[in-house]
Each structure stands twice: as structure tokens, then as C-alpha cells.
Amino acid sequence: MSRTLIRLYWLLTAALFAGGIAMLIAWTPTEVTMGPVQKIFYIHLPAAICTFFACLLTFIASIGYLLQRQRRWDDLASASASVAVVLASVVLITGIIWGKSAWGQWWTWSPRLTFSLILWLLYVVYLLIRPSIAGSQRRAVVSAVYGVIAFLDVPLVYLSVRLMPDIHPSSIQLAPAMQWTLAYWFLPVTMLAVGLVVAQYRLQRRATLHSAAHLSDYTATGAAPAGIV
């Protein structure tokens, strides 16, 4: 992908965010009960959905690695896990602020909130344990198995409000202008999430190939060791 296209993509994403903020200030109606803080919802929900997809990508890439043992799958899994942590942090922070206004308390151990916190912790641990595992192939295998198991929490987060009594709303009725705002905000948040995964993956690939080039300096053939790509 050319540099111009990448720059255009990021510029468009930034412009869409600016448009979204302008929309919130000038056009989106203020909710009567909660006031302006309700507008946090327009970034909270898209970030939550994108978190699920980032976790799903880690899950798919982990299975890909276990089946094919190619480092590109491991790079993709760790890249999407990094993005999942960032997005899950956004979900937790905005949710906490929203909860303070809606429920009068920053945090409550309801099923949805608890499983969401566990999800965040699972992927933080994923990123923390990777550097401590010696050997790139061993690290990739352990990470892949962990990436598959960690994903099991995603259905729990999604289904918790439907299967268990929960203070967290399972659906919200919105006025048409609010629905348009929510639909719009999916665009910049999704574009940013995709851009982050691609950028982080490219960085990981470059780092992997960089270390492979270092290793090949010490081999007779100059070829990258098996399984490195």
C-alpha cells in the first residue's frame, strides 16, 4: 500500500472524528434524564463492538498459527490483541463515566461489567506474558493457545445482560437523530480500529523480519530460520 493512500486513510479517519464531535456539539439532541454525559454512549458502543472483533481476530489468527505454524499469524494475533486492549480500555473508561451519571456509582460488580473487566485483564495478561516466554516458536504456541482460551470470555460479555439479571441495559431506545449519530460514530471508530490493527501488524512484521535478518547473518545460507515467516 502506498504511503499516500495510508496518509489519506488516516486523514479521512481524523476528519470523520472531527465531524463526529461537531455533530455531537451542534446537532445531536441532549438526552433529558442524563444530560450531556449520555453522549459518551456514541463512542462506548462502537468501541465495544470493535473490541469484540479485535478479540475475534486474535482468536482466528491464533487458530491459524496452531494449524500452519507461520509467524505472520502470531504477529496478527498479537497486533489485534494490542488493539483489543486499547479499545477495551476505552469501553471501560467511558462505561465508568456513564455509570456514575446513570447509576450514581463509578463501578458495580454486575455480570456485564465484571466479564468486561475480565476480558480487559485477559488481553493485558496476553501482552504481558509474551515477552517473558523464551524462544519465538514457544512464545507463539503459548500465545496462540492463550488467544483461543481468552476469546471464550467474549460470548460471556455479550450474553451476560441477556441471560442474567444486570443493571447494564441490554438495549436502548433512541430518537432518530440519536440513532443517526450512533450509526455515524461506528464509521470513525471502526476505521481507526482497522487502521490500528493494520499499522500494528505491519510494525510487528517489520520487527520479525528485522530479527530474522539478524539471525540469518549467523547462518551459512543467509536464509531465515524455519518458521520465522
Binding site: I93, S101, A199, H210
Partner: protein, 44 residues
């Protein structure tokens, strides 16, 4: 400014700061890696 407005602005600032801050970190890490690659090539 009301407390609701302050909370709303804080929420968006934190969310956008995290996401765009992470994008900036990736960009900086890419530049650092690029410089490191150039140094390795020169060494060879």
C-alpha cells in the same frame, strides 16, 4: 460548566487520547525501527 458536561468531555478526551495516542506510539515505533534497519544495513 455542569458536572455532566465535564464528565462527557473527560470521557471523549480519554477515549480519543487513548486511541490516537496509541496510533502515535505505533508511528514512532515504526520510525525507530526504520532507523535501526538503516543502521544495520550500513553496518553490513
Amino acid at each position: 460548566m455542569s458536572q455532566e458536561e465535564t464528565f462527557g468531555i473527560l470521557g471523549y478526551a480519554a477515549a480519543l487520547g487513548l486511541m490516537w495516542g496509541y496510533a502515535a506510539w505505533i508511528w514512532l515505533a515504526g520510525r525507530k525501527l526504520g532507523r535501526s534497519n538503516s543502521a544495520t544495513d550500513e553496518h553490513r
